[in-house]
């Protein structure tokens, strides 16, 4: 029995060093050598080097001159991600969905039938960086008007930033909201700086 116990302890320690230590370190090395940008989190920087976010992580957009991402169950908090975990028939859930739909209709002046279900439901991570192309096109007129540019040019940008499904059939076509908004600023200039700082204001349907 003593032999068994000694064996158990020794095996646990050595296996911990290999699988908990050596294995992640080897991959960290491979990441640093071959996939530097991905390994640090696919971060996006402005020309002056300041960090603007990650292309994989949604950030809050509330101003009319930017495209908006999907609703988030965690207020786009990238340090504590999550979904709403609302069941499909939960009255609070349906109330939130209705509030989001009304807000989109008021902002973009579109019929409910033109709003994809993705834009009134919260994502699984709360940080979904993408929206369906139809959801971007639905916001194009508003963004163009807010920036005073022809809607066709905004739509052309959406086309450029639409990523099709892998090999045309795997996953769904999507538009990365942060990259599209960065492209807006590059094409049409950044909007005047906003006096507001800190957390953006809440949207209808946001978690309380």
């Amino acid at each position: 029995m003593i032999r068994e116990i000694r064996q158990g302890i020794l095996f646990s320690l050595v296996a911990m060093a290999l699988f908990g230590g050596v294995y992640p370190l080897v991959l960290w090395g491979i990441g640093a050598a071959a996939f530097r940008a991905q390994a640090e989190g696919s971060l996006l920087r402005r020309a002056d080097g300041t960090l603007v976010g990650s292309r994989l992580i949604a950030q809050a957009f509330r101003r009319p001159d930017y495209f908006q991402p999907r609703p988030s169950g965690v207020d786009d908090n990238a340090a504590s991600a999550g979904g709403t975990n609302f069941g499909p028939s939960n009255p609070d859930h349906l109330k939130a969905v209705r509030a989001r739909l009304e807000a989109i209709r008021a902002l973009d002046g579109v019929d409910p039938g033109e709003v994809p279900a993705e834009m009134v439901t919260a994502s699984g991570s709360g940080l979904d960086p993408d929206i369906p192309p139809a959801a971007a096109l639905g916001q194009a007129a508003r963004v163009a008007a807010a920036r005073g540019v022809p809607p066709d040019r905004v739509r052309a940008l959406i086309d450029q930033h639409t990523e099709p499904a892998l090999l045309g059939f795997y996953g769904r076509a999507r538009v990365n909201v942060l990259e599209l908004n960065l492209a807006l600023d590059v094409s049409f200039g950044a909007p005047p700086p906003d006096a507001r700082t800190g957390r953006p204001e809440r949207r209808p349907g946001d978690p309380s």
């Binding site: 809050a60 991600a81 069941g87 709003v115 279900a117 892998l166 999507r174 953006p200």
Partner: protein
Amino acid sequence: MGLEIVAILFTILLTIVTSVPLGRYIFKVFSGKETGLDPVLRPIERLLLRLTGVDVTRQQTWKQYALSMLVANVFMWLLTFVIVSVQKVLPLNPDGIGSMEPTLAFNTISSFTTNTDLQHYSGETGLSCFSQMFVVAFLQFVTAATGVAAGIATMRALAGDRLKHVGNFYVDMTRAGVRLLLPLAIVVAVLLMSQGVPVTFEGAAQARTLEGAEQAIARGVVAPIVAIKQLGTNGGGYFGPNSAHPYENPTPFSNLVETWSIAILPMAMVWALGHFAGRRRLATMLFAVMLAIYLPMTAFAVRQEAAGNPAIAAMGVDPSGGSMEGKEVRFGVGLSALWAVTTTVTSNGSVNAMHDSLTPLGGLMPLCGMWLNNIFGGVGVGFINMLIFVIVAVFVSGMMIGRTPEFLGKKVEAKEMKLASLALLWHPLAILGGTAAACHVWTVTQDPGAALGWLKNPGPHGFSEMLYEFTSAAANNGSGFEGLGDNTPFWNITTGMAMLLSRYIPIIAPLALAGSLAAKPRTPETAGTLRIESSTFGFTLWAVIVILGLLMFMPVAVLGPIAEQLAGP
């Protein structure tokens, strides 16, 4: 929807096709035959065995084998319990994460040592980098290796004739870890990194968003952990939302790699059995029976999710995307539903969509997957769970045709049936008993909504949340209806106990059963022998699994998901 079905079939076919050679590789590794990877991996295996002082010539009986397994597991439990309890002061804690309180630590460590990976904490705020590596990654390797070892020992016992010994636990563990899991995990992790899964020790990135707000973006040593959590049927993610988080699963391609990783080893283990028993047709029959349950479940779940939420459709929005609450745009409903079924039949428990937000009947499929828990199942242990049903089906068929039940030429007698019944009945007992206890606590508490704060959702869905939690714990799955506020002493302790008992009873009882079969002489097959490779027996097995495995849970299914569906919004 048409293309999504193509994508689903493509994923399943790719996994099946690649599982065949991997099954052969597993057989070679565990029967001491040469493989192409030996020049690289054998030296690591030898080094590890030398460092740990394993006597490679020592052969163990099933009892000694089980004892070694328990002793090793106890020390891994103690070691990692200490680490998470003092992680605050340990190195590699860039985000300054605090130590775990005792009941949460008990639950977390029981969860990871049992290959369950139920998480009552959220990775971003609950575990330091050090704990993610030396607790999570370490346990995800060794618990999967434990499952493989137990599975292999059982296969050897079944294939043996008057066999006393089933192998050496530490040799099998080392082989499973070094020669099976490690190379697969490295390849998968590199593929994931190429798609954007980060590996960094730097902690959260501080960004200033386009609108001028501050954004802290949690990062970490993500890719290595995601790789092994997928491959080892572990399921414990780096971040709270698991593989729905863009850093764990950034693209459709990473989703393909991760879905493949969930099912590849459980599928390959079925082929490995065929090699060990020298009966390829038996493996094909078992595989077909599993597919005949897995495919209809997947089709049903996809249909439910694609149909969307009628309450939202009634508001007039464009419902063509399906039920997207809790799902990510890059995957859509098809790949999310495929994952939900795959991760629960295999005891994995990772998610790429929030299961609490699945449609009522779509969410019933993950529950069914865990109630059965043997359709491919967890690495190694899934095969063991299937063995129990095979023994029962052999027994039932034997009774029907009036012959002594036999399996692989061994008589199945009272002792084997008792052990099979023990393993079979523990599962519903843990789930139904646990759920009943939770319901009782809820009903006797005054104003439970405020006092307990458990249930996020009212009505039958709230019941489903509690049912799902005990189902997941007992199936060693680890996914959850995460609306349940489960980080309380009640849930931490009860589900912790459920996970421990539900791991070791269904490993040791079948190992004893196999050991008992192994010691028996093999009787030659005659014209009167029940042919277990036949499609007739396959259909009997399928029926036994569905009737016996699911009927026990029919009442709770009616109280939860089915009532919710019938009530409507």
